[in-house]
Structure formats: structure tokens, C-alpha cells
Subunit: 213 residues, 2 copies
């Protein structure tokens, strides 16, 4: 057994991203089912979108795509049995949430914090740029909010968010959620299963061209 | 039986679109399996992208996205057991091909012509802005190339391509392949199954959040 290596997937995510909400509500269970270990890397899409010439969400810059995205999210959330609040701010300022996530992910309850932050915004319509909302999420995930906040501001921790974002860019990440495994990039909640398969096997599962999945 | 209505899906497609290639190679069988009748509507993405401020393929405007797309296409094509030629021209001038498709789709062999045109470009790396290539595709699908070309230029037929494109835009189509059923828009080869399910039932099939598909 000691020679077996556990397959790994790196998960690049941004709380302001609508599709990341779906992924955050299911990736822990999905990775566990697949026997894949996750590396959690919160990022900020602001600098990544800025490099593409965008100063806000592409869903605001391209209204037809934005209208599609909100309806698509509603349909997918319903298929997963999740609530979805269209009134979530787009794009919400997620810097504070992402900094806290970096600190939270030093602990085993880190993923629970991330799931709750995302759920607060897109599942409950709460504003995650608000420190009180983030404190509720920290508490609910078993953190002491003050201690978590102090750790997030620590000079040993704070630069990691920028580093994550730069690392993501250097791997070709241009949106969220994204996944990397064995040098391959996957993008979007609907590619989570493909990414997990790639982490395990170095290939996508063969697809039947004509059969409903 | 006479009271039963056959579920219908409208398929909006553009030969210059890479992801449309995957869909064209499988949509006939997939729709047949699902018991859904297809309405085929070739469109031009040029005017649709123009309305979004783009003068070429978004995969050229956003290089990180373009790099991802080509690799994603390779992976998906492999999973479907299809060849994929990166050297296909992006974006190829698809006006002549689309006009011929409008005329071909008046006949039962129309879908076969569309499938072959798409395969010639992205499966074989042939230039479908070339009239000789299109003649080969017409012949292979059982058409007389001269008669098809004449029909495509007929004043009763030629305006339909522009009409299709305008109709697509008015339904919120912003890319290809797109699918519409019961007032809902679906986008991308990976949403074909969802679109077929919606055409049948007015809902997406419930998804297990954590199980590999």
C-alpha cells in the first residue's frame, strides 16, 4: 500500500464566481467518491480578467451571455437540488473572503468555511463583502472569527492569495472554477467529473456519442 | 397515437465553430435515441460576435481561452472516438458552406451534408471555404453539387441564412452550438443531453452532486 500514490487535483476557485458556487457545494463529496485528494487554491479573478482586458464580470460586459448564465445556473442548481439566488452581487468584492479562506485552509475545517461562504452568497443572497457575514461563516465552520481574521492578515499568510492567482495564470487559468491535474487544465463546474477522471487515470472516460448521460 | 406530440429541439449551428463539430457528429443519433425531432438552423456567428464587439473568433481575442479550447477539443474528441485537426482555420469563412446547408436541409440528406462539411474541416483539416471541398461533401451526401449550388443562390432560399441568424439573436443565442426547446436556451456540445431532456420533459434530469457521470 505504501507505494500507491493518491491521485491529486488542484482546485482554483473564486467566491465571486457563480459556477464556483455549484462546485463548492459538491467537490468534497465528489473527490471522496473518486478517491482523489484535493489541493484548495483560492484565487482572485480580478487580475486574471484584467489581463483579458475586462474591468468587471464578463457576464456584465456580454449581456446575452449573462442572461444565459443566470438561467443556466438556476437550471443546474435545481438539478443538483440547490437553491440559487439571482440577487447575489455580480461581481461581489471577494478579497476579504478569499484572504480568510487562505488562512482557513491551513485547518481541516477550511473546505467547510469555503462551502459556507459560497452558500451564503449564492444560496442565501447574503453579501460576502460584509465582515459580519464572513464571521458567521467562520463560526459555523468551527473557527474563532477573530483568530481567523488575525491569521489572514499575518505577513506569512496574506501574500499567498496573490501567489495563488499568479500561479493560476501561469498555468493558463482564465476563469473559475478551474482544475489542474497531470499538466491538464479543466474549466467549469461541468468539467469536475472529467478533471477527477483525469487525475485518476490520465484520460477522460470514453463517452457514448449518442446516449443521454 | 395521433394525439401524441413529438418533442422538438431547434439546433443552431455554425461550421466555423469547433465545438459544433463534436455536436454535428453525434446529434442525429442522440436525438433519435431520445425520441426528439430536430429543426436544423445554420447560422453565421460573424454578426452575432460583431454585436458583442468581436471582429474575429473569441478564441483568438482571448489566447488563454483559445489554448484551453484546442486542448479541450482534443480531449473530448478522443473521448468520443473522433479525430480532431488543430490546423483547421480559425475562423474559416463559412458563408458558402452555410448557404449550401440551408439548401441541403430542404432534403432528407441535409443533415448528412452538414455532418460531412464539419468533418472535412475539423476531422480532416480541409478548407471548407474552398468550393471543391464543398462539392465533395455534397456528392458524398448524395447531392448533385451544381443543383445544390443553384438552389442555394435562389432568391427564395438565400435570405434564410440571414433570417436564421437574426432569429437566433432574438432568442439570445451568443455562440454555437446552441439549442432551444420550450423557450429555454442551451449552449455548448456538453449541453446537448440537457437540451434533449428539456425538450422531452421541460426539465433537466436530476444530477447526483457527487457521483461521476
Amino acid at each position: 500500500m505504501s507505494n500507491e500514490t493518491v491521485p491529486k487535483l488542484t482546485f482554483w476557485f473564486e467566491f465571486a464566481s457563480t459556477y464556483t458556487y455549484l462546485t463548492l457545494q459538491r467537490i468534497e463529496d465528489a473527490a471522496k467518491s473518486a478517491g482523489v485528494e484535493l489541493e484548495w487554491r483560492p484565487i482572485l479573478l480580478g487580475p486574471i480578467f484584467g489581463a483579458q482586458g475586462w474591468d468587471t464580470s464578463p457576464f456584465k460586459i456580454y449581456p446575452a451571455k449573462g442572461a444565459f448564465m443566470f438561467r443556466d445556473l438556476e437550471r443546474r442548481a435545481a438539478a443538483y437540488g440547490l437553491p440559487f439566488k439571482r440577487e447575489g452581487i455580480l461581481p461581489v468584492n471577494s478579497v476579504m473572503a478569499a484572504r480568510l479562506a487562505v488562512a482557513a485552509l491551513e485547518q481541516s475545517q477550511g473546505p467547510a468555511f469555503c462551502r459556507r461562504v459560497s452558500f451564503a452568497h449564492w444560496g442565501e443572497g447574503r453579501d460576502i463583502s460584509n465582515a459580519d457575514v464572513l464571521e458567521d461563516c467562520a463560526r459555523a465552520a468551527g473557527f474563532d472569527p477573530q483568530a481567523l481574521s488575525a491569521r489572514a492578515s499575518d505577513p506569512a499568510v496574506k501574500p499567498r492569495l496573490r501567489q495563488n492567482t499568479e500561479d493560476a495564470q501561469s498555468l493558463g487559468v482564465f476563469g473559475a472554477p478551474s482544475f489542474t491535474a497531470r499538466g491538464e487544465l479543466f474549466w467549469g463546474d461541468d468539467q469536475l467529473e472529467d478533471a477527477l477522471a483525469w487525475a485518476r487515470t490520465g484520460a477522460m472516460s470514453p463517452r457514448n456519442r449518442s446516449q443521454p448521460r
